[in-house]
Amino acid sequence: MEGLHIHGAAHAYGDNQVLSKISMVVPGGELVCLLGPSGCGKSTLLRLAAGLEVLQEGSIVIDDVTVATKELHVPPEQRRIGLMFQDYALFPHLNVIDNVSFGLLGMARAKARAIARERLDQVELAHLTEAFPHMLSGGMQQRVALARALAPEPKLLLLDEPFSGLDTNMRASIRQMTLNVLKQSGVATLMVTHDPEEAMFMADRIKILGRGGKILQSGDSHEIYYHPNNEFVARLFGFMNTIKGTVQNAMVQTPFGPVPANGFADGEPAQVLIRPEGIVLSSGGQDGGESSGGIPVEVNSTHLLGHFSVASLKIAADRNGAQEFYVRVHKEFLPELAGRITARIDPEQSFVFADDATVPGEPMLDDLNILSPELKTLLSTGLEPQDKVQKQAEAAE
């Protein structure tokens, strides 16, 4: 089979088990994203596939050739892989075309340059062949790095957080171009990211890695987002409103009404997790939507963030209660002009899991992928901003 096949890969640094029996297949032409928090072992897996680490257990096969087992270690340069990391690592003293043809050693110079020119054309940089890296923007450098990685026609492309060095506006366009180029080339691609949105955008299949290097779920973005099979996976995609309760008559009671208990037995502690867009608001009409099952709510604040708004609210009958819910509403939301407002839960965007009490039910605002960094700070409960947490975790690794 074309592509990558890892089976039973385990890896430890001393006593620290970073990967536990990981298996995965990346078929030719497909893109798999490893998504997980810092320290889940996703970069280690990439380094094992690249041959930058020696495999301790399991096997790695690229295009039907076994490249690593406990006894075998094929060096990186013989694995027919392309690598792209976030810092691009272009050679500053070489111009663009020489950077791209660098990996085509042993090939006649004219032929190598012709291939390099073709790849540069694919990434729309054919007009900049003579430029030096310092003359290019971050996005352009990244495109050169992509052209360079693809020039030797690798059997497998390994991408480690390839877009994280780019600013937000550039990231969207580079990501789209990269995806187009990868699909045209038909190469099998394994990409590591900690950004859920990036994984959903790029991947044909997402593999969620949890701490201790275990795969928690595999599926396409729809499956992972709408059918998370555990609490960790559900929370990975951003803030969740959390309601704790006990199962009674196969239902968990919530302020928005009972929710089916998803197979948990009566008497078991359970929690209902609801995405911010999973609380649906209604207004207008005589009863503000109450007749269609909505519960009256009071909106405490609302912030327009462009194409959506974020609001915080409380249940009207429990306005002195502690629990506040966060809601994401498309377009502008003007509760001050709306009169009576009710809320109900969208069953597609709410999930019931066992309540093992390990994750706080309080909103973790730094986790709010729905919010801009400014608003996160504005609404912050004192938690660290995401990138700071990330850096600390990396430093601790």
Binding site: M1, H5, H7, G8, S23, V25, P27, E30, S218, E223
Partner: protein
């Protein structure tokens, strides 16, 4: 594809034969999507899914027979593929008319066969391969 890769071989004739058959059915669906073969995804895919489910049953029976200790876990894995199979059938129902559904179906089938079905079985390869089944 067409031949099972070495890294996907179970070295157990019954299972390898089933996996090979699944692969051929999936190859045929992919060829239809690419316009290289006659047939309809809406007909071929439900047949393939039916065969996959029969295979799961055969495989579980075999694992029970040889006393594989984690048979329940593997049966649960098969059951967890229900959702993926539903998605595959939904895509297949559209794939003959909608090229985007066709491309998504091809991708879903590749992962279904290689990642979900065969790779997961390799966990018990060493347990079944030397047994006389």
């Amino acid at each position: 594809m067409s031949e099972l890769s070495k890294s996907f071989e179970m070295e157990c004739e019954i299972l390898d034969r089933d996996h090979q058959e699944l692969m051929q059915q999936i190859d045929k669906i992919a060829a239809v999507i690419d316009g290289n073969d006659d047939g309809r995804c809406a007909k071929l895919t439900p047949e393939m899914i039916k065969f996959a489910k029969q295979h799961f049953t055969r495989e579980e029976a075999l694992l029970i027979k040889v006393g594989y200790p984690d048979v329940k876990k593997h049966a649960a894995h098969h059951q967890n593929l229900d959702h993926k199979m539903e998605t595959i059938l939904e895509l297949a129902a559209m794939a003959d008319e909608n090229s985007l559904a066709g491309e998504k179906l091809k991708s879903a089938l590749k992962f279904f066969l290689a990642d979900d079905i065969i790779d997961a079985d390799l966990d018990f390869k060493s347990f079944v391969k030397d047994r006389d089944i």
